[in-house]
Every structure is written in structure tokens, then in C-alpha cells.
């Protein structure tokens, strides 16, 4: 805020030579003013006029220039006004008294002004330090990363203290011929170092040591503690998430391992009994086989999921017939023919994908559909579509069940690991892993998997797999699957120029 007399008592006065000029001018002005005043007051009392000049000068430029102004004023007063005028002698002894009193008063006034000026300078420094501390606190305590905030904070510090440069390090740094180092400590432990250039004036160094370093130590200690706590918060959150997954896994494993194990154990014990009909033996053996398959699938799924979550599911792509993959998936699921209706277009183009992963994806979606279809057959349809934008097109596999469907709010959630749609009649046999795995593997192969459903009317899971130009023509079956530089072009159809070098 600008003050009308801001230059008075300012810690940064105008240059000294300006002061000298101003002092001489003021003394001159006072001398002139005294002339008219002599008409109305005794001249001896008019020395007080010069005090104005002395106060003004000493308040602005300090005691020394103030004293000089006082002396100059005394000389001018004596020369121009005290009789005998025109020389520096004084005839009347009372005039001596007036002159001496004036000089003493002027001297006192300038030293009072000087002391006040010093106080003002100190107050200004404190204010700046307070500003600096507040800003440093903001920089060091608010930011996301302490290390990133340190250079800014150091620059701000250098600017405030008028140093050419400064650095705050979180390590112990030794001073050398070009640098002065201030250790920053909290108790016995070293927090870091404040480094300033070697040429810094002694006064500033003292000020740094006495006023800046303690504040910086407190700030840095708080900032480090805060960063530590933040790290712990992040770590705790990660652990808690891992814990949730682990608990879900345990629950899934508890139910999904025990149920088939119970069936196998019970069927095994039943088989050992006497007096069974051949038909019953055959049935019990079927129970054991089917439940064993189910267990094996669960183990596969657990492994797949951990692979996907660890990012270790790098697909080994080759030219793959979707029809073969679907049929292999149906084989793996076992069960009756009547559970499925298949409609796969003839001469579907091949897709460039990892057939094993694709099969895992499709098995899981088929198993899910069969589980929820309430005994109705699940329909599997596959066809190729050209992209409207003139791109490569897609191969689309739709798996349609006639179960209860999925409420809109759960459409995406069904792809979360361990999520099980808890709708009535849906059964509880899924592990909650299958769809997560299906989506994981589909996406790993450049495709997409989503679900459409109207509650009450079943659900349709849709795979979209990108078609790659090289096999748009027929006859690509013979293409060697393990060509070494076989890189797929852009996995998404119509996605701009391809990257082949």
C-alpha cells in the first residue's frame, strides 16, 4: 500500500547524493523563509525552522546526513540571520545559547529519527520473513511432491533475501570455496542442507543462520512427515484393496472348491457301496467326471486371473479360426448337444489372435450363459461385418442366453472379478471369475467384450474381434502361423495408417 510519506523511515532510502542535494536545498529554503519571519518574531527563536529540514533529512537518509544538515543549518543561520549578519561571528551571547541549543536539538532529533528508522527496517524485515515463511509453508506443505517443490521454494528464498541463488537439498551437502552450507536438522537427525553462494555478506549469513534456518528446519520436518504419512496412506489403501481381493478369493475358493469336492467325495463313497444298479454306477461316474472338470476349470480360471492381473498374459497370436475355437470351447464344457444352438457363417475370415486365450474367453462366457439360461439352449452366432468407415471390419460373436437377464446397473459390474449377480434363480455356481477373465483375454487380443440385456429377456454377450487386412481374401489358412515378424496391424478397424515399417 503506497503511503504519502513512504520515503520517510524507509529501509531503502533514495541514494545519498540525492540526500546531500536535498539537504542543501532545504537549508537554503529555510534560510529564505526566515527572512519574512524576522518581521514578526525575534530572530533568535527562528532557528527552529531549520529543525524541519534536519528532521526530514535524518528521517530519510539517517543520522549522519542529519547531523551534517544540522551543522550546515547552524552555519547558514549564523551567517545569514544572526547579527552581525554576513560573517560567522556572533556578537550577542544569547545568540550563542540559541545556536548551541539548536545544534543539540538537531543532533537529538536526527538520532531519534535514526533509531526509528532502524526499527522500521527491522519491522520490514520481519514482515518479509513472515511472508517468506508463509509462502515456503505453502510451497512445501501443500504440493504433491516435496522434491518437486524444493527448487521453487529455494528460488523464492533467494529472491526474498536478495541472494543470487539458493538451493535446498534433502541430503547432507558440504560447503566449499564457492558455497556456504547450512545444515538443516531436527534434533540429532539431519534433514537436509541449505546452500547459498560464498559471496553472501556476513550480515545476511547471520540472518540466515538465526532466522531462516530454524523456520526452514521446522517446515522441512513437517513436510517430510507429511510425505511419509501420505505414502503410508497410499500403501494402506493398496493393502486394503489387496485384502478385499484376497477375502473374495477365499470366499470364492471356499465355496467353489468345496462344492465339487463334496460331489466327488460323495459320489466316490456311493460308488463303493454294494447293490448299485449299473445305471447308477454310470451316473455316479459321470458326477465325478463332470465335477472334476469343473474343478479344473476353476483352477484354470484362478491361474488365468492371476496372470491377467500380473500383466503376464502376452498373447501368442496366430491366424485362428473362430469356428474351431468355439467348437473346442463347447468340447471343453461337455454337457449335451441340446444345450447349444450354433450358427456360424461359412468362410468366416481368420482372426489374428491367441487361440488358447480366445478359447478361455469363450468357454467362460458360454459357461456363464449356460448357467443362467434356465435350461433353455444358448445360441452362439458368429459373423463378419465390414466397418462403415471403410476399415478392416470386425468379427462378431454373440452368445445369447434366455435367462433372467441383467439389470442395467450391473451390466458393467458383471465383468469385475468376484462379482456375482445375485438375481433370483441365477444359481450360485459361478466363481465370479469367468467374465473378468473373458474380458481380460479378449482385450489382450485387441478385441472388446460387452453385454446387452433387457431384464427378463436374457442377456447377450458380444465379442468384437478386429479383422486384419492381410486375410481379407480367402486362402489365408495356409499362411504360416509362426512367421517371426508377424505383427498385427492396428488392432482396431479403421484406425488410421498402419505402423508396419
Amino acid at each position: 500500500m503506497p503511503r504519502p510519506f513512504g520515503f520517510l523511515l524507509s529501509p531503502d532510502p533514495p541514494p545519498k547524493r540525492v540526500g546531500v542535494v536535498v539537504a542543501v536545498a532545504l537549508v537554503g529554503a529555510c534560510t529564505l523563509i526566515v527572512y519574512p519571519l524576522k518581521q514578526i518574531a525575534p530572530v533568535v527563536s527562528l532557528g527552529v525552522v531549520y529543525l524541519l529540514a534536519v528532521l526530514l533529512v535524518s528521517a530519510t537518509w539517517g543520522a549522519w546526513l542529519g547531523l551534517a544538515t544540522a551543522l550546515l543549518s547552524a552555519l547558514a543561520f549564523n551567517f545569514f540571520h544572526l547579527p552581525p549578519v554576513g560573517n560567522l561571528t556572533i556578537s550577542d551571547s544569547s545568540n550563542w545559547v540559541a545556536l548551541v541549543a539548536f545544534v543539540v536539538a538537531a543532533g537529538l532529533a536526527s538520532s531519534v529519527a535514526e533509531v526509528t528508522r532502524g526499527r522500521a527496517r527491522e519491522a520490514e524485515e520481519r514482515r518479509r520473513e513472515a511472508d517468506l515463511a508463509a509462502e515456503m509453508a505453502r510451497l512445501l506443505l501443500r504440493g504433491n511432491s516435496l522434491r518437486e517443490a524444493l527448487p521453487t521454494a529455494a528460488a523464492r528464498l533467494a529472491h526474498a533475501l536478495e541472494l543470487p541463488s539458493a538451493a535446498i537439498e534433502l541430503e547432507a551437502v558440504e560447503g566449499d570455496e564457492r558455497h556456504v552450507a547450512f545444515a538443516l536438522r531436527e534434533g540429532a537427525s539431519r534433514l537436509g542442507t541449505l546452500v547459498v553462494p560464498a559471496g553472501t555478506p556476513e550480515r545476511d549469513l547471520r540472518r540466515l543462520q538465526e532466522r531462516v534456518v530454524p523456520a526452514l528446519e521446522a517446515l522441512l520436518s513437517a513436510a517430510l512427515e507429511r510425505e511419509g504419512l501420505q505414502g503410508e496412506v497410499v500403501e494402506t489403501a493398496a493393502l486394503r484393496r489387496a485384502d478385499v481381493v484376497k477375502t473374495a478369493l477365499l470366499r470364492a475358493v471356499s465355496h467353489d472348491l468345496r462344492s465339487p469336492l463334496t460331489a466327488i467325495a460323495t459320489a466316490g463313497e456311493a460308488l463303493s457301496l454294494d447293490g448299485l444298479e449299473p445305471q447308477e454306477r454310470w451316473e455316479l461316474a459321470g458326477v465325478i467326471l463332470e465335477e472334476t472338470r469343473r474343478l479344473a476349470r476353476l483352477v484354470d480360471n484362478l491361474l488365468d486371473l492371476s496372470r491377467l492381473q500380473a500383466g503376464a498374459a502376452e498373447p501368442r497370436r496366430e491366424w485362428t479360426s473362430i469356428e474351431e475355437v468355439v467348437r473346442a470351447a463347447l468340447d471343453e464344457l461337455g454337457g449335451r448337444e441340446s444345450e447349444w444352438t450354433l450358427s456360424i457363417d461359412r468362410e468366416l475370415p481368420l482372426v489374428l489372435a491367441d487361440p488358447t486365450q480366445l478359447e478361455r474367453a469363450i468357454v467362460n462366457v458360454l459357461e456363464n450363459a449356460r448357467r443362467h439360461s434356465g435350461g433353455h439352449p444358448v445360441s452362439v452366432r458368429a459373423r463378419a461385418v465390414r466397418s462403415i468407415g471403410g476399415g478392416e471390419g470386425k468379427l462378431i460373436v454373440r452368445v445369447v442366453d434366455r435367462g433372467p437377464g441383467i439389470p442395467p446397473a450391473q451390466l458393467e459390474r458383471v465383468f469385475e472379478p468376484f462379482y456375482r449377480a445375485g438375481t433370483a434363480g441365477g444359481g450360485h455356481r459361478g466363481s465370479g471369475l469367468g467374465l473378468a477373465i473373458a474380458r481380460g483375454f479378449t482385450e489382450a487380443n485387441g478385441g472388446e467384450l460387452h453385454v446387452e440385456s433387457l431384464p427378463g429377456q436374457g442377456a447377450t454377450f458380444v465379442f468384437e474381434l478386429p479383422l486384419v487386412s492381410a486375410q481379407a481374401e480367402p486362402g489365408w489358412d495356409e499362411r504360416p502361423a509362426d512367421a517371426p515378424d508377424e505383427r498385427p496391424a492396428q488392432p482396431r478397424a479403421g484406425a488410421g495408417p498402419d505402423r508396419e515399417a
Partner: protein, 227 residues
Amino acid sequence: MSPDAPRILVVDDERQILRALKVVLREAGFEVVPAETASEALDRAAVRPPQAAIVDLVLPDGDGVEVTRELRKWSEMPILVLSAVGDEDQKVRALEAGADDYVTKPFGTRELVARLQAALRRAGRGSEEPVLAVEGLEVDLAARTVRRDGEPVHLTPIEFDLLRVLVRNRGRLMTHRALLSEVWGPEYVDDIQPLRTHIARLRAKIEPEGRPRYIVTDPGVGYRFSF
């Protein structure tokens, strides 16, 4: 299968388990009434009441606790619950809803059959039977006397009441809450610690050295008087 074989309602949504259990129970002399859902189970039980029920806790349209509660509304038949959850809370809920016992999946069929037979025996026995005498222990509920190897044992009133409740329900798994409610009253059902203390004192007086033979702990769930 004899025409008067006890009819057992078996409720499990795992068709394969149902199929295997049917054979096992038939060979043990029971007739199985299978049901895959809670509502099917309640329907079948209502049409022709079975002598006992085996109920899986996880069902597609509800849970076994609910089935147990519904059956208990009109029937005293023994109910065994099957739990795949390994979760004590759920067992306790089922027992509090009126189940007599539970078996954890995967179970041995011999154990299942034994528990089922025990539960049926208990149900057929009737509740008024003033004197119990098993291997060295004699409890006269009417005279409130207890003898071990012929020697009279002095029990405090609370200890005797505990023993009486356990003996009356022998073979049946009694939850902590059930015991507390019967002996101390419904307002004390959460004070498990005093129950432990009294069980320990009772055991010291009636059990032989070493492993408890009569009062068996089911950790986290309760106690049963086995015989």
C-alpha cells in the same frame, strides 16, 4: 428299499451332490426327497412331511437358514444344515433358527449318516427321561443328583442347570446363546465368558482326566453333550 424307510428331505442346489447323496442315503436305509431350491423344499415338505431334513445353507432363491426357520414353524423334525462356507456366524444363525446340527462340506458320508441317525434317535426318544446313565456318569434330572463312577458329585445350581440343558438336548449342538438363554435367561445371551467358566468347572467335576468326553466344544459355535 423298505416302504417304511425314513423320508429325508435333502435340499441342495448342486444337482450332482443330490444325485450322489441319494444313493448314499438309500444304502443307509433312508428315502431321499430331493429339492434344489428353497421354495421346492418347502413345497415338498408341506405335501408330505419328511422325518428329517438336510439343508444346504447356500440356495439360489434364499438361504438354508430361511428354510430351517420356515420348517421349524410347524415341525419338530431334526434338521441338519450343510455349510460350505466355513463361516461360524452362519452356522450359529442356522442353529438359532432351529437346526439341530451342521456338517461342513466336503463331508464324509459316514459322518453325515451318523449325525442324521443320532438326530432321528433323539427326536424319537421323547423329552421326558429322568435318568441318564452313560459310561461312568449317572444324571438323575428329577432328583437333581449326579454320580461319577458311583460317587456322588456336588454341583452348584447353575452347573446342574447347564448339565440338565445339555443332557436334555444330548447329541444336539447347543449354541452359546441357547445355553445362556436357557440357564441364565434371555437377557444374558451375550455373556459368553461366564458360560466358559461354568463349563470349565462342570467339566472338572464330571469329566475324566484329559480330553472332555461328555461335554464337547464346537469352537466358536457352542457345546454338545455327546454320548
